[in-house]
């Protein structure tokens, strides 16, 4: 008994220490690694559940700046847009009401200072956007004049779009055009300021035909419940005055060579969309081994910028450009950053900066527009009155070309490029992914698996592994079949052989009790009531094993199923496994005490812990199987998991009915109340912990102040 007590104390101490250690996280400061321009360069690497930042060499650097001086003109004044065609670059110098046309080498070609419509000179009023079609017609979003002008290179206006008269146009709609686009089939799209209906679409005859591809409002379950409750209790007046959640408007759009329209919005996820003809978002990204919609994908920063006074500055994607290979270049005007993604939403690079005060080259004060010209990126800054030309570095060229070739399935050509990328940065996930694909394609499966693991590419890893297994089975199928048949015969013989000696388990009463819950749960419950059967120590040990088996599933499972997770926190596992069981035990005991239950706290604890055995078994099987079975053939694992949960439920029902002396219906009712009680208790615990944390933080602050002074 004393030993048991001692063991219990040890266990409790060890658990506490583990919990304490796991709650501590340490970190260190970084020395500067790579030499960088004025701005930081990095990319996001996905490591399972989250993404993390990896410092990188510059993919683009500022090569030069286009301003009035370099062109021999007066200074630009509020450069709002730039558009590049095959032959020229058009700059919308809004403040000066002119369009500056450049050759592709950025030398001055022409300035369009005056716009004539029907013999009258037209003054532009804060124009926001410019677009040039294949026939060199220039579309100008003359925003504050509420019109779109179409003119030629000499400024002669041939067409003017104002707000269309249509039943489809809502009464409160204001026509403040900000950008235009003509798709592959010749349809014209006009974006208007503040409109959440989508882009205005005009047919080939330039008749307004409706709105295209509006963003939708995403409502969380909590928001839905809250809205429902409000609709019941709030007065009509209050409801009418409440803030409605409207969809985000499109800030900019662009089209690729396949005719998809890419849009950008300042939302918190799904900022970038790739719309098909119907206006449906077709952009997808790889999440583990499945490919899912990018609606929930965060294209932006992990965390928001907070200034020294504690004020947050939210990110705002405001412009987008797409190259002919479908690589996406999105501009965040709030932080002054450019995000580059490949067609599968792999982040290639993030660079730029300034956070509204970037007076160094490659940083921005008020970045307004991004455009692609050959391989250069042109970025307008309305405040700095210039266009920054960002050119690819050698490293950038390698990454982009390797990406293009891989996308096109030209793996052999891509391989040396990816390898060279790794000489510049050994920690380039996208290069490892590319090499995994290359090796997979060239049937070099071992290498493919090695690269896939480094690139955290579960899909390629599983595909390569499947091929290896397939080859192995093809080679050794007869031997394997023979071994399996032999094993089956052996096991059958063992089972049929008469038992000569008593089950060894019976020699150890406690162990026997533990496994009795599987074979004879009702008997165990009866013995517990009658003879105080069961062991607290064994129950605690089972809980500990359960906890570690959960850890094993999350941390030690095969790469095909679980990615290494740098933000793994064992505290959450503890709360999600042992914590839930303990909470269940306490709440069930409390509730059953009210509903005339006969079970003691000890007995509930023991049966609840013992009932976790099927889950432990499943966890162990999962960890082992995850190394051998490819995800595409893993449906039996899911079935096994469901069985394990069902067995846990059955065991609890059988034992608790007997211990509590309840009917099945009553147990169900009590269990429902228990679950409700668990939720309430969890909420209270959370509250207490939060308050405690605040108090500790307050105390720490006071102590720190004292120490500092």
């Amino acid at each position: 008994m004393a030993f048991k007590k001692f063991l219990r104390k040890i266990l409790v101490t060890v658990m506490s220490v583990f919990v304490l250690i796991s709650s501590l996280t340490l970190s260190a400061s970084a020395i500067s690694g790579i030499e960088e321009p004025a701005y930081t360069n990095y990319f996001y690497e996905h490591d399972g559940t989250s993404k993390r930042i990896v410092e990188d060499r510059p993919v683009y650097v500022n090569s030069h700046v286009i301003d009035g001086r370099t062109l021999g003109l007066d200074s630009f004044y509020i450069v709002n847009d730039v558009y590049s065609t095959d032959d020229a670059v058009y700059i919308l110098d809004s403040g000066n009401g002119r369009i500056v046309v450049l050759n592709k080498d950025y030398s001055l070609k022409k300035t369009i200072d005056s716009f004539v419509m029907n013999g009258e000179i037209q003054e532009l009023n804060e124009p926001q956007g410019i677009y040039v079609d294949s026939e060199e017609n220039i579309y100008i979003a003359d925003t504050e004049n509420m019109r779109v002008l179409v003119c030629d290179i000499n400024g002669k206006v041939s067409q003017c779009f104002t707000a269309p008269k249509s039943e489809l146009i809502p009464d409160d709609f204001d026509f403040f055009p900000i950008n235009m686009l003509i798709d592959k089939s010749g349809y014209l799209y006009i974006l208007t300021r503040g409109s959440y209906y989508g882009a205005m679409m005009y047919d080939l005859d330039r008749n307004f035909v409706g709105f295209y591809g509006a963003n939708s409002v995403s409502v969380t379950i909590l928001e839905g419940i809250s809205s429902f409750i409000n609709s019941i209790f709030e007065t009509n007046e209050k409801l009418a005055n409440s803030v409605k959640k409207l969809p985000y408007q499109f800030y900019d759009f662009d089209t690729d060579s396949s005719g998809f329209i890419y849009t950008v919005s300042p939302s918190s996820t799904g900022q970038i969309k790739k719309l098909n003809l119907k206006g449906t978002n077709t952009l997808k990204y790889k999440k583990g081994i499945s490919v899912v919609s990018a609606e929930s994908f965060n294209f932006g920063a992990l965390d928001t910028y907070t200034d020294l006074s504690g004020k947050e500055r939210k990110q705002s994607f405001s412009s987008i450009a797409v190259d002919e290979k479908g690589f996406i270049y999105a501009l965040d005007s709030s932080y002054g950053k450019v995000y580059i993604y490949d067609s599968k939403c792999n982040n290639i690079a993030v660079f730029g900066g300034g956070v509204g005060a970037g007076y160094q080259k490659g940083t921005f004060v008020s970045a307004s527009k991004i455009e692609i010209s050959n391989e250069d990126l042109l970025i307008c800054d309305a405040e700095k009155n210039c266009i920054t030309v960002m050119s690819r570095t050698d490293y950038g060229n390698l990454i982009m070309h390797a990406g293009y070739l891989t996308d096109d399935g030209e793996f052999e050509e891509a391989e040396p490029l990816w390898k060279e990328v790794l000489t510049y940065n050994s920690n380039r996930q996208v290069a490892y992914r590319g090499l995994a694909l290359v090796n997979l394609n060239s049937e070099n499966y071992d290498k493919a698996m090695e690269y896939a693991e480094l690139g955290l590419d579960q899909e390629s890893y599983a595909a390569a592994y499947e091929q290896i297994i397939s080859i192995f089975l093809n080679k050794h199928l007869w031997w394997i079949l023979l071994i399996v048949v032999g094993l089956i015969i052996g096991v059958t013989v063992l089972i049929l052989k008469p038992k000569k000696e008593e089950n060894r388990l019976n020699r150890f009463k406690t162990l026997s009790d533990v496994f009795k819950i599987i074979s004879h749960p009702i008997d165990l419950a009866a013995e517990m009531r009658a003879k105080r059967a069961g062991s607290l120590t064994a129950a605690t040990l089972i809980l500990i094993i359960f906890y570690f088996s959960q850890i094993a599933v999350k941390q030690w499972s095969g790469f095909m199923y679980v990615l290494p997770n740098s933000s793994f926190n064992p505290m959450y596992v503890l709360l999600g496994s042992v914590g839930v069981v303990i909470l269940w035990v306490v709440c069930h005991w409390g509730v059953s005490a009210i509903f005339s239950g006969k079970a003691t706290l000890r007995n509930i604890y023991i049966v609840s812990s013992y009932s976790m055995l099927p889950l432990i078994f499943y966890n162990i099987v999962f960890v082992v199987v995850s190394y051998f079975v490819v995800p595409s053939s893993s449906s039996f694992i899911t079935v096994l998991q469901m069985i394990a949960y069902a067995v846990v439920a059955i065991l609890l029902v059988f034992t608790l009915i007997n211990l509590q002396e309840y009917s099945l219906g009553k147990l169900f009712g009590v269990s429902v109340v228990t679950v409700f009680g668990m939720l309430v208790s969890a909420f209270l615990i959370f509250m207490v912990l939060t308050l405690g944390q605040n108090f500790i933080s307050f105390a720490v602050n006071i102590i720190s102040e004292g120490i500092y002074r």
């Binding site: 260190a28 970084a30 020395i31 410092e55 301003d67 900066g353 210039c386 050994s426 920690n427």
Partner: protein, 740 residues
């Protein structure tokens, strides 16, 4: 009894009121006092005319315009704060006139907010200006009656130099507190849109700002000399900026130039420039002396509104006369090469450096080898951090051996990150030990000795995160202006937020020598060739626990003394990307900066730093393999004839992704050895021919081609473009060089 009590209380209250009424007056001067001091001076105020002269100059005082001019004898050259063309205007006016006629700009604190005053408005129009003769010069006192501040400036001529000093000890102030004084803002200036005119600012390696106006926005630049003050609670890094390593600046206009050197008080100064302003018609660069420590606090009221409050030190810096020395340059000397020459002469005089002598321990190849770093790992799911080794001493030896064997170089080697937590901060100077995980140091050291390879070990004697070696975590930190511990958090490269829980401290300045002594003892024990003091040579910070430590003042002496102590023990000193005072006292300089902070107004980066130190000290460029563009970085080394440099490690594996240090993924030796050999072999002959030579001439032949001539008449043409170009009869290959 009641009466006595009442009387006692009344008496105490009365005493309190009287004493309170005197509070706040201590240390300040009443207006009457200030006025009194001026009435004394007024009688001695001098009239217009020549007040001092030497063989070269006449110092002239214009009492009407209250302006000091320096006239070069026998010529029509005048040097003044007010550009001479503007000075001669009969009826000048406007914003530009206010600025150009101001002998100084003043920033002062009023109700905890910073305001700016211009001496022309505050003293000439709304106050008084008095001049008196002093030895070789003139003392001008500016009384700003509305601000109740008076500032004395002293102008002297000393040979070819014009010196302007602020007499800090005699500055008078009342409730408005002087924060900074910008001296002679237009002494170094150039008329806008003038061809070939430029402003030189020493950002990073140095840069030129062209003075065009109208075609682009006005360009400004402002940065503290020797970088930001780390003893500041305001820590926000929104972009990468190169520090000012040299307190020198200048302006070129037609065939004239003026070079300004901050000869006294460089540590407390800032260099400001304003270029292409259409309102002035002139562009200028000038020095600003920060006379008080200041810290920004953010105070949130009950309504949740946050406001910014400035907290300043009571007293001013403990420096009598911060001085800017101007050296006018003419004709062929009137360019940045001429400025580099006068600055080099100034450094040689100040630090007793000899020119034209053979440099000891010089090499054409420098290697920086990284030991290891901590990684985040787990023990059965529980988070922990442990050291991961990237390069053991044995592997470092193999790398150096391999390089020596394959390319025949005799490199200088710097070891970094071999202490307590590798490259990560922990105890001060990495605990001053080699962690056993890195293997046996003696084998490497003995091999280096035998093969005449100089070996330096780097110690961070500035930053620490944990106590130890006589350093206490909290009480050994330097203090900020509001007396808190100076500490910094890691800045996120994503959103620039400071990760405060992982902050590290700045060691109290008077403890640094003690740590250096411990490093010396350890180095002697290990028979080390040299010590590398990276952080001490390229960081500078204040300690507000003493007035002597305000605004970084006196930090340069620490490394100068440290270097002296190290040398006395027969150990060499290496500095990295170091400030001029550290570079001047070191035995070699590695990772010398080759670019500027890239501000919008910077038009052409120049290797001013290399031009100054080449030939004075063994010098290497910043590591080529860590550069933005490796081929351009190689060419930058060629351009200035400085040694090549590479950062290397032996091992990188995916475990290092869990490290805070990203450097390992960029510098694997196996990957870079081919390129090291290629670059070294292609430049060996040229670099060895100019390794000890100073740079005599440096100029841009075109946008992409640079010509450098060395003291031994070796000339190199470097072509940064993608196509081969012909210059001065020489065909320079694309992305290549040619020397003769």
């Amino acid at each position: 009894m009641k009466k006595i009590l009442k009387q006692t209380v009344s008496l105490v209250l009365l005493l309190c009121i009287i004493s309170l009424s005197f509070c706040g007056c201590g240390g300040n001067n009443t207006k009457e006092e200030l006025n009194a001091s001026y009435s004394d001076n007024e009688a001695e105020s001098i009239s217009s005319g020549v007040v001092a002269q030497n063989d070269i100059y006449e110092l002239i005082w214009d009492d009407d315009k209250k302006c000091v001019l320096v006239h070069e004898k026998g010529t029509e050259n005048y040097w003044s704060n007010t550009p001479y063309e503007h000075y001669k205007l009969e009826d000048p006016s406007g914003v530009g006139h206010v600025r150009m006629s101001s002998a100084f700009y003043l920033e002062y604190l009023a109700e905890r907010k910073l305001n700016t005053a211009y001496s022309y408005v505050a003293a000439y129009m709304n106050g008084d200006i008095i001049a008196e003769k002093i030895e070789n010069g003139i003392r001008v006192i500016f009384y700003m009656s509305e601000l109740e501040i008076s500032v004395p400036l002293e102008y002297r001529i000393n040979g070819e130099k014009i010196e302007v000093s602020v007499d800090v000890k005699n500055i008078r102030e009342n409730s408005n507190l002087v924060y900074s004084i910008s001296v002679s803002p237009f002494m170094c200036s150039a008329k806008n849109n003038e061809k070939d005119a430029y402003i030189f600012v020493p950002s990073g390696s140095g840069t030129l700002m062209y003075v065009d106006e109208g075609g682009r926005n006005t360009r400004t630049f402002s940065a503290e000399v020797y970088g930001m003050d780390y003893a500041s609670t305001v820590t926000e890094k929104l972009s990468n900026k190169e520090s000012i390593a040299m307190p020198v600046f200048g302006a070129k206009y037609k065939d004239k130039a003026v070079c300004g050197i901050i000869t006294e008080g460089a540590e407390i100064s800032r260099i400001d420039a304003e270029v292409g302003n259409i309102d002035y018609g002139y562009s200028s660069v000038y020095a600003t002396f920060l006379l008080r420590g200041i810290n920004t606090l953010f105070v949130t009221n009950n309504q949740g509104t946050t406001s910014q409050v400035l907290v300043s030190t009571d007293g001013m810096v403990d420096l009598a006369k911060p001085t800017v020395t101007y050296i006018p340059l003419l004709d062929e000397k009137a360019d940045y090469m001429g400025m580099a020459e006068v600055y080099k002469n100034y450094l040689c005089e100040k630090y007793n450096l000899k020119r034209g002598e053979e440099l000891n321990n010089n090499s054409d190849l420098y290697l920086q080898i990284f030991g290891g770093a901590e990684i985040a790992t787990d023990f059965f799911g529980f988070a922990k951090r442990e050291l991961r080794v990237s390069t053991t001493f044995e592997e470092a030896k193999d790398i150096v051996f391999d390089i020596k064997e394959t390319i025949g170089a005799k490199p200088v080697v710097q070891l970094k990150g071999y202490g307590h937590k590798g490259l990560d901060l922990d105890k001060i100077a990495g605990g001053i030990k080699f962690v056993k995980d890195f293997g046996d140091f003696n084998t490497l050291n003995e091999w280096c000795d035998k093969n005449e390879v100089s070996l330096y070990v780097d110690y961070d004697a500035v930053n620490y995160r944990r106590g130890g070696l006589g350093v206490s975590k909290y009480s050994s930190a330097s203090k900020t202006a509001n007396r808190l511990n100076a500490k910094h958090g890691m800045i996120s490269i994503e959103n620039y937020n400071s990760d405060s829980p992982y902050s590290y401290f700045y060691l109290k300045r008077d403890l640094i020598p003690k740590i250096i002594n411990k490093v010396i003892k350890f180095s002697n024990k290990k028979a080390l060739d040299g010590i590398s003091l990276e952080s001490l040579g390229n960081k500078s910070y204040s300690d507000y626990s003493t007035q002597k430590g305000y605004n970084k003042l006196g930090f340069s002496e620490i490394i100068q003394n440290a270097a002296m102590d190290v040398r006395e023990n027969g150990i060499l000193v290496m500095t990295e990307d170091s400030f001029d005072y550290a570079a001047a006292v070191s035995d070699c300089i590695i990772s010398s900066v080759t670019k500027s902070s890239d501000y919008d107004g910077f038009d052409k980066d120049i290797p001013f730093y290399q031009i100054v130190f080449k030939g004075l000290k063994p010098i290497a460029v910043s590591p080529i393999n860590l550069a933005i563009n490796t081929s351009d970085q190689f060419l930058k080394a060629i351009e200035t004839g400085t040694a090549l440099s590479f950062s290397l490690c032996d091992d990188w594996n995916s475990e290092f992704t869990a490290s805070e240090q990203s450097v390992f993924q960029f510098c694997l030796y196996d990957i870079w050895k081919g390129q090291i050999a290629e670059m070294y072999n292609s430049s060996k002959e040229y670099i060895s021919s100019v390794i000890n030579s100073e740079i005599k001439e440096h100029k841009y032949i075109s946008d992409d081609v640079v010509k450098t001539v060395f003291a031994n008449d070796v000339t190199v043409y470097v072509n940064y473009s993608d196509m081969s170009l012909d210059c001065e009869g020489v065909s320079v290959p694309a992305k290549g060089f040619i020397f003769k």
